[in-house]
Subunit: 141 residues, 2 copies
């Protein structure tokens, strides 16, 4: 597991995602002040994908440099405001998501289908699912 | 600008992205130890998109709970190892990306096309681009 490469790739993905959020902010602002320009920016963003934010910005600079400069400012502002909260949000988020997945699976593994147990009570002790090869192996990697 | 909502959405996107990275790790591990299962997991991941990681995991739990449990463990491990570095990586990353965009644009705005200035030297002082309405407005939002 190359954690350094994963961290690098994650940062790149985050930058693109924050740029997408900055775009949403700028469009909302333009909706208030310059609706025609907001319309234009929506059309532009349908033409050019923001999946890779740097390619998107390079294209935007060639057509509307004022908006492109504003996007740079807004995305940097979002990062400044949000960065320090990310570790805690991410840790809490992944723990909650994992707990939810494990709970769901535990419920599926232990539940007795009420319909089956009512109409065929003699079958209610049969396992609902075929057995898996093994269970949770926290130390297997 | 609803920074709280942006932080929440960003965390969700990050969780899905880290799950995708965990999937890549698990596939690489299975390639070494259980190639047939690695093949199966690749096929499964073509069938079910990991774009929404929680939907993907719920589907995976119904077909191969052992791998699903392993994914939960690996993604939590990645987050534990990486979370504290993210603020610095993200700040540095966005600053570098913004600097690069601004430098590129400055070069485009100030460059004189050598071909034009050689063949038509009398035109070399004309602006290359039509003027924009305004420049960099750091305080405009």
């Amino acid at each position: 597991m190359d954690l350094k490469q994963i961290a690098k790739d994650t940062t790149k993905t985050l930058i693109s995602y924050v740029t997408y959020q900055a775009l949403r902010v700028v469009i909302a602002q333009l909706d208030e002040t310059e609706p025609k320009r907001a319309y234009w920016l929506r059309q532009f963003s349908h033409r050019v994908s923001i999946q890779d934010s740097e390619v998107y910005l390079t294209a935007l600079f060639q057509e509307e440099q004022r908006i492109a400069f504003r996007l740079l400012t807004v995305r940097e502002h979002i990062v400044e405001e949000m960065a320090d909260y990310l570790p805690e949000l991410l840790r809490t988020g992944i723990q909650q998501a994992n707990l939810q997945q494990r709970t769901q699976q535990l419920e599926r593994m232990t539940q007795i289908d009420p319909a089956t147990s009512t109409s065929h009570p003699e079958q209610s002790e049969q396992p609902e699912q075929p057995e898996q090869e093994s269970g949770y192996q926290p130390d297997s990697y």
